[in-house]
Symmetry: C2
Subunit: 347 residues, 2 copies
């Protein structure tokens, strides 16, 4: 990719255009570039370079007599081979840390808070994907008899995530009996991932058919039901949507509607975040690169977060392709690490 932009000067022009465009939001012309950035060449020369960059598909001209705008590809090249990502200043880190008020009362709350932090520091929308249950480690299961034939299962993972399911059972079961089940299961399933738990349960059920142990049988059946669903589901917390309204490129209502529709549907955003979960470190999707979402010129900057050694989910920032990547990339990176640390402490 780096080879696409041969000369040092071309690279500097591309950078200058992108910086200017990011801060200004309007097509940038040759004169402004020559003046403001110390390129020491005339506008005419810059125009020649620009024409070359346009031919390479890195720049784009909205109309004949307008300045240039970087294309998604242009931004990609810039991010991959020009931008030097700096660390967040320690003052910024401090400010981020402080903006988490109070302790970790609930994991949910922590995630939502994180999403808010991302949004307020990036001035864009912050997003956090909740942990996939199947990836978490089993800690505890409880059954609660809500009333005749109605049972609630509560599942707690090591990272402190709580999940409950209500379902109907055939015959009524007393709370004492349910407590026996859960004691039994809690012993058996310690330290397995929920994925493994599921397998283990199936396994035990086969054995049990031979043993005819009624206690086991019921316990296994109930826990199966609880695990049947939702193991692969994730939710997302999106905060700061309205920050996007401040970006002039989203001023027209049609564009807006598309973005907010995507926010409302969520499933596509979840898919995208999901995809970036396995890839370690900061991921960047620029505009059309995330084709499935027809959100127009929107970029995602994401990073997975962990608890201990387990990848739990993904967090990130959603903003216009015209975003201050140099600030937001380290922000997302640091926030992911910070959240991982906090989840590690809570666990």
């Amino acid at each position: 990719m780096k080879q696409l932009v041969r000369g040092e000067r071309a690279r500097r022009v591309l950078e200058a255009i992108i910086l200017e465009y990011i801060s200004g939001g309007v097509p940038v012309g040759s004169r402004a570039l020559a003046k403001r950035y110390g390129l020491n060449v005339s506008p005419a020369t810059i125009r020649n370079v620009m024409a070359d960059l346009e031919e390479l598909g890195l720049l784009y001209q909205p109309h004949t007599s307008a300045g240039r705008i970087p294309t998604d590809l242009g931004l990609r090249v810039y991010i991959d081979s020009i931008l030097k990502i700096k660390q967040l200043s320690s003052a910024d880190r401090e400010r981020i840390r402080r903006s988490y008020k109070g302790g970790v009362a609930r994991v949910e709350g922590l995630l939502k808070e994180t999403s808010k932090v991302l949004s307020s520091f990036s001035k864009q929308a912050g997003v956090v994907l909740t942990p996939r249950l199947s990836l978490t480690v089993f800690k505890r299961i409880e059954f609660v008899r809500l009333r005749a034939k109605m049972v609630m299962t509560i599942l707690v993972s090591q990272a402190g995530i709580v999940h409950n399911t209500i379902f109907e059972i055939d015959g009524d079961i007393s709370q004492e009996e349910l407590d026996k089940y859960s004691r039994y299961l809690n012993d058996m399933l310690q330290d397995l991932t929920l994925h493994q738990v599921k397998a283990r349960l199936l396994d035990e059920m086969k054995k049990e058919k031979v043993l005819f142990d009624r206690l086991l049988s019921k316990a296994l059946e109930l826990s199966q039901k609880a695990l049947q669903e939702n193991l692969e589901d994730s939710e997302i917390y999106i905060e700061g949507r309205t920050n996007l309204l401040d970006n002039p490129e989203f001023a027209d209502v049609e564009q807006m509607r598309r973005i907010f529709n995507a926010f409302e549907e969520k499933s596509k955003i979840i898919d995208l975040l999901d995809k970036s979960m396995s890839a370690g470190g900061v991921n960047i999707f620029i505009g059309s690169e995330s084709e499935l979402l027809d959100m127009g010129s929107v970029s995602f900057i994401t990073s997975p977060y962990t608890s201990g050694d387990d990848i739990l989910g993904t967090l990130g920032v959603i903003g216009p392709t015209r975003m201050d990547y140099s600030r937001i990339i380290p922000l997302v990176d640091y926030t992911a690490k910070l959240l991982s640390k906090m989840l590690g402490e809570a666990l």
Copy 2:
């Protein structure tokens, strides 16, 4: 209020204007009224009536040569003393019932689903306020030792609402010990509202000071911690925000921003819904009537929902003041009753 609009004809004109405005969205003039509604009078007469209604503050003229638009007060009069609220047709009821897919796997899910139902049937935004914990009836408490000194408390209410808190404790406590605590508490607190639970705990703590029972002491202390916060907090589920974008009156970006800001902040909306919780039946806030929210010309139609005899929360529809009240009022009413029934069955 009824006296404001003296004549029968004036009332009919007001009604006609509102109906026309609701369906069309543009100021309505005297000619269109005379033609379309069987008023059997000439436009000139209608103009006279309109002038009267305007003087009363029920109508409003955007500019000299425009037709009339009902004011918030006009809509209020219409809703209170002209509109006859019909029942939802049984076909509609059936369709609503069917749109709840599957059973009640989780209360949360059920509430979110309800919010979606409200939004899709109203073509506006649907909103559901989650139950205030303090109003719910205690069912069960569990303690889970996450790791040294870290304990999670899980609280289950009779209606199937689960709430968890993670906190740090001074000395480490084994899971076995924690189980003892919860067994003790579960016996003690059965069938109290969480509000009462809190009082009861304080009570017991006083007694315990005399008895010096270490088990009691610890158990009480932990549960106190868990209940310390969040009892009064509510969340809301808002679905179908983008439906509001289809309303022409929200076409301009500034108006939009205000509404979405309110959605983002939530706390003010929660306050409003909270207020309408105690008042039974369907509540309506028209535009400026809910002053605290500067959402512009937005109306709320809300109704509390229950589980058994307890009021749990509020649900409703948010839309432009220009909304089809005759359809949406019974929709909200029915949905609230349906949700109450479903929660009653699950509990």
